[in-house]
């Protein structure tokens, strides 16, 4: 994958498939360290599953025998001197199940790849899974981009889905506008 935004899409897709109703993608950049945090309230994983997560030959799916998402992210992070931690609470915990993936990257390392089009990643997630809610935040010393689809839904009402073309176009402009404004 050629930029970090594609890794983010890939990891957030795991949240979608875990049945998460709330997914947060949080990026913070401080002192040449980029921290990516993806939180969801999906079905979570057992301790055993979390342990196996970085093994590319472990997957719960049936269509193929490899699971490369987390191993890819870990490789990319570790190549820059960062690390990935995954914490998860399985569904046995009714109130509080879900997963957090936290990855750090040293942005001044030669192996750091560009962030890429993270706005397109957010739009793509919403397009495919409009019934979930998303929080997106990107904070650096120059910008603070924020989005919460629950605020949008409150205005749009029940009938208009988040993935209606007009709404997706709005979300794209809404985010790009914040990036332009604060650059």
């Amino acid at each position: 994958m050629k930029d970090l935004s594609l890794y983010i899409l890939d990891i957030a897709m795991n949240s979608v498939r875990a049945g998460a109703k709330n997914i947060a993608i949080l990026l913070t950049e401080e002192n040449n360290v980029l921290t990516l945090r993806i939180e969801d309230n999906g079905c979570g994983m057992t301790e055993e599953q979390v342990e196996k997560l970085s093994n590319p030959f472990f997957t719960t799916r049936k269509t193929r025998k490899v699971g490369l998402g987390v191993p890819f992210l870990r490789m990319l992070s570790e190549m820059t001197g960062g690390k990935v931690t995954v914490t998860s609470r399985p569904e046995a915990d009714f109130e509080n199940h879900g997963t957090e993936v936290v990855a750090t990257f040293h942005t001044d390392h030669i192996d750091f790849i560009p962030l890429g089009d993270v706005v397109e990643t957010v739009v793509t997630l919403i397009q495919g899974n409009p019934d979930s809610d998303y929080v997106f935040r990107h904070k650096t010393d120059k910008l603070d981009v924020n989005m919460d689809t629950r605020e949008m839904r409150a205005i749009l009402g029940e009938e208009i889905p988040l993935n209606a073309y007009e709404v997706l176009a709005f979300i794209r402009e809404f985010l790009l506008g914040q990036y332009e404004n604060e650059n």
């Binding site: 205005i155 009938e159 209606a164």
Partner: protein, 123 residues
Amino acid sequence: MKTLAELAAIREQMKDKVAIRTGSGAVRVVVGMATCGITAGARPVLNAFVEEVTKAGLNDKVMVTQTGCIGICQYEPVVEIYEDGKEKVTYVKMTAEKAKEVVEKHLKGGEAVSQYLIGNTEL
């Protein structure tokens, strides 16, 4: 800069349209968006379909959706088209440009673009 208040205007414009759209989906365009698809470039393919279907005025008839790994990772980005009463059509090794052509010729014109179909594409 866009503000959330503009969504209220979108809601007003769309009130009548949504009722029509929810009854739609006679044609489904399904883009594989697992690790294999994303790595091979599925994100711009998906977004091209969303964009072009809207531009072609086909939103009432065509639904663009995402799926996981279809199982033929070496052919990604893979796009399947399901149409009532017809056999499933599978496009492989797609790009945003090819997606545009498929919307124009297949979804609008009714004729599959044969050179991008799975049977006609070499690895």
